[in-house]
């Protein structure tokens, strides 16, 4: 057991799996000798050699496409897209190929691969280093979409994703790489070392895909969140003194609907929180599912807290980001009637 931040936990997951499975290969832009712009692949090339951890050309389409060929051969590629905002040149390969090959070959070929990518805002990255494009992937049948929010989950989910027989989009909330974020950008960052989920086993373990975590038990309402927003929501709940049940989805597809239903049936109220823009976001799916399945338990309309429907605005980051004020207002609204 060691205290790790999310980067160290993700790095450890790579090392564990590369040591266990000779078919795991890792590549992406700057991930080799240098170890990645966020250092998630640090030391892999040194330890496992340059044909198992190597730099790729700046060609996300090529990175995904060659990973398809490798998976078809029988390898398990774990590829890094340097920022989720750069994933779009690979989108055709992901949507038309990665997601569909098992189906269109009736299981003759599978696509076991993990596409890792740092996503989300809160780091003054402007519109090309801050986006939350998860709903573009949750909409695609054949993909699994996973978003961890702690070091422990990041390692366990990444190992589970690498061992999974299907392709997994693994979005890492980069704002919380070094410590949980309470939504108050003007306050100093709390390091992960002070958080219990930074205690990470050194060896192999998994956090199963498709299972949410109830990170705060409560009776007054249910908050559905993932990624950075789990921590922003938790802080807002404490600040407002609301007895909310906070669910960290961890896997968006396949969704842990049973945990969501049980909680909303108990609390009768639901707030959906996402960092991504509002329209057609994953929160819309969550809101629809809750009203379809828990309507007669609801005492107030399902509310959404989201980013705005604009491109990510650099200098207006903190007016854009769904922070404590937006959460406070939404909590008041959900609890009003």
């Amino acid at each position: 057991m060691a205290s790790m931040n999310m980067i160290q936990a993700i790095n450890s997951a790579h090392k564990v799996m590369m040591a266990r499975d000779p078919d795991v290969v890792v590549f992406g832009e700057d991930i080799g000798y240098f170890g990645g712009v966020f250092r998630a692949t640090e030391g892999l090339q040194r330890e496992f050699g340059s044909t198992r951890a190597f730099d790729a050309p700046i060609s996300e389409g090529g990175i995904v496409a060659t990973a398809v060929g490798m998976a078809a051969y029988g390898l398990k590629p774990v590829i890094e897209i340097q920022f989720a905002d750069y994933i779009y040149p690979g989108y055709d390969q992901i949507v038309s190929e990665v997601a569909k090959i098992r189906y269109r070959t009736a299981g003759e070929w599978a696509m076991p691969m993990v596409i890792r990518s740092p996503y989300g805002g809160g780091i003054f990255g402007g519109q090309t280093h801050s986006q939350s494009p998860e709903s573009l992937f949750t909409h695609i049948a054949g993909l699994k979409t996973v978003i961890p929010s702690t070091p422990y989950d990041a390692k366990g989910l990444l190992i589970a994703a690498i061992e999974d027989p299907d392709p997994v989009i693994f979005f890492e909330p980069k704002r919380i790489y070094n410590g949980p974020f309470d939504g108050h950008h003007d306050r100093p960052v709390t390091p992960w070392a002070k958080h219990s989920a930074s205690e990470v086993p050194d060896g192999h373990y998994t956090v199963p895909l498709g299972k949410a975590a109830v990170v705060r038990k409560g009776e007054a309402l249910t908050i559905l969140a993932y990624g950075t927003m789990v921590h922003v929501a938790l802080a807002a709940v404490e600040a407002q003194g609301v007895d909310a049940e906070v669910i960290d989805l961890r896997t968006l597809v396949p969704l842990d609907i049973a945990t969501i239903e049980a909680s909303v049936e108990k609390t009768g109220r639901c707030l959906v929180v996402q960092e991504a823009p509002r329209t057609s976001g994953f929160g819309a799916e969550l809101a629809a599912l809750v009203q379809e399945r828990c309507f007669y338990h609801l005492e107030s309309p399902v509310e959404r807290v989201t980013g705005w429907d604009t491109p990510y605005p650099h200098s207006y980051e903190w007016a854009y980001f769904p922070g404590p004020k937006r959460l406070k207002k939404a909590l008041e609204k959900v609890m009003a009637d």
Partner: protein, 422 residues
């Protein structure tokens, strides 16, 4: 006022002009391909398979040809194949053409939704299949059905896929002719053009990572070389010196767009190898021996870690793009007949006859045999159903194989769909 207002033009500067390429001939024109300057067989030099890429680059503007006008095979590219191999290639090509004709007709008879012929291009897939080993992996386009035929994939199984019937191993999920068969080294065909080209590079990278001896061959058409996937494939192949053979089948037409719309007025497709620093060959795609020789050369080069090769097969799409296409709307009806590289089946047949290893009687007898074989396969396939009868039984199977294990939301939708179909 628009920022494109002509009054704002600077009068002392030349007016810019956009060039939109036009093919040399349109419907009603008399096609004449004299300007192509087809070099004679034997003119192109044959570098050693270990040659530096630059030594191959003169070949990117020439044409590797083996069969001459007297139907003789000439050096330096003559692969010196034995008569049995030549006859097998001829038989496979004839079978492909008969198969295409039967399935085209089946589509016209309403037995399936779609079909694509490879008429005039039979030599390319058939000879490429012969030049690689059965263990090598192809990432084909939809016009390489010859690979499956040459590798002995059952015709009936191809037809069952075309009919989406009970015998379709792809369970009726794929458009006709989008075959897939791992055992025959044939990767699942995609309708999104070009995607398979860099995938072939990835497969070959994996083979090299593992220290395997198998290579991959990636295929693309002239039109789809404009896709980013073509350039990604070329970049990765060059960067990692990947053991892959990359083929551009330049059949002159991408549906109704001639090769100039993909850049062919400026450079040959083979010349793209020059910029990437890999070996490049331009090959007469209607000459089965030249196709075999070039693929074999590139395969030997890849197997000996001398790197990837881009091969342009220069050919002509004699039929329409697909059953949904009518070429009379955009090109002269007799253009295929005027094509100066001839018909690949006639050329190989004439060569075998010149060798004394074949004759008209045997050819007619084999053509009849191929026709009977294809008809018999069709009869067997149709016993398992044709497309209009499909899509009604086992609705639940539609929901399988999206994931290895069916998640709850898909299971719920399956139950709903099954209920809806009751």
């Amino acid at each position: 006022m628009s920022d494109k207002d002509p009054s704002k033009l600077k009068p002392n500067r030349p007016q810019l002009a956009l060039h939109v390429p036009e093919p040399p001939f349109r419907p009603g024109d008399t096609p004449d391909f004299l300007s192509l300057n087809i070099p004679a067989a034997g003119e192109a030099a044959r570098p050693d398979v270990t040659a530096a890429p630059a030594d191959t680059h003169p070949l990117t503007t020439q044409l590797v040809r083996v069969l001459d006008d007297q139907h003789q095979a000439v050096d330096p590219w003559d692969p010196k194949l034995d008569p049995d191999t030549l006859r097998k290639m001829l038989r496979d090509m004839v079978t492909v053409r008969v198969f295409d004709d039967r399935m085209y007709r089946a589509q016209r008879q309403g037995k399936t939704s779609f079909y694509m012929k490879c008429t005039g291009e039979e030599a390319i897939a058939v000879a490429a299949a012969a030049a690689l080993t059965q263990e090598d992996m192809h990432f084909p386009t939809y016009r390489q059905q010859g690979l499956l035929v040459a590798r002995g994939y059952p015709l009936k199984d191809m037809m069952c896929q075309i009919y989406s019937n009970k015998g379709d191993k792809l369970k009726g999920r794929q458009l006709p002719i989008m075959y897939s068969d791992k055992a025959h080294g044939f990767f699942s065909i995609s309708g999104n053009l070009g995607t398979q080209f860099p995938q072939a590079v990835g497969w070959a990278m994996a083979s090299a990572i593992k220290g395997d001896s198998r290579i991959a061959m990636g295929w693309i058409g002239d039109g789809a070389t404009a896709e980013g996937d073509f350039h990604a494939g070329m970049t990765f192949a060059a960067v990692y010196n990947v053991p892959v053979v990359l083929a551009v089948v330049n059949n002159q037409w991408a549906i109704s767009s001639f090769s100039g719309i993909a850049g062919a007025e400026r450079a040959t497709f083979a010349q793209r190898a020059v910029g990437y620093g890999i070996a490049g060959l331009r090959v007469d795609g209607n000459d089965a021996l030249a196709v075999y020789a070039a693929v074999r050369w590139a395969a030997d080069r890849a197997r000996s870690n001398n790197g990837p090769t881009l091969i342009e097969f220069f050919t002509y799409r004699a039929a329409g793009h697909s059953t949904s296409d009518d070429p009379s709307g955009y090109r002269p009806a007799n253009e295929a007949k005027a094509w100066p590289l001839g018909d690949p089946i006639e050329r190989l047949k004439a060569h075998l006859i010149a060798l004394g290893e074949w004759d008209e009687e045997r050819h007619s007898a084999f053509a009849a045999e191929a026709d009977a074989t294809v008809r018999a396969a069709q009869k067997e396939a149709e016993k398992l159903g044709i497309l209009p009868q499909q899509g009604k039984d086992d609705i639940g199977s539609m929901f399988e194989d999206v994931y290895a294990e069916m998640p709850w939301h898909i299971a719920e939708q399956r139950d709903q769909a099954v209920d809806e179909a009751r």
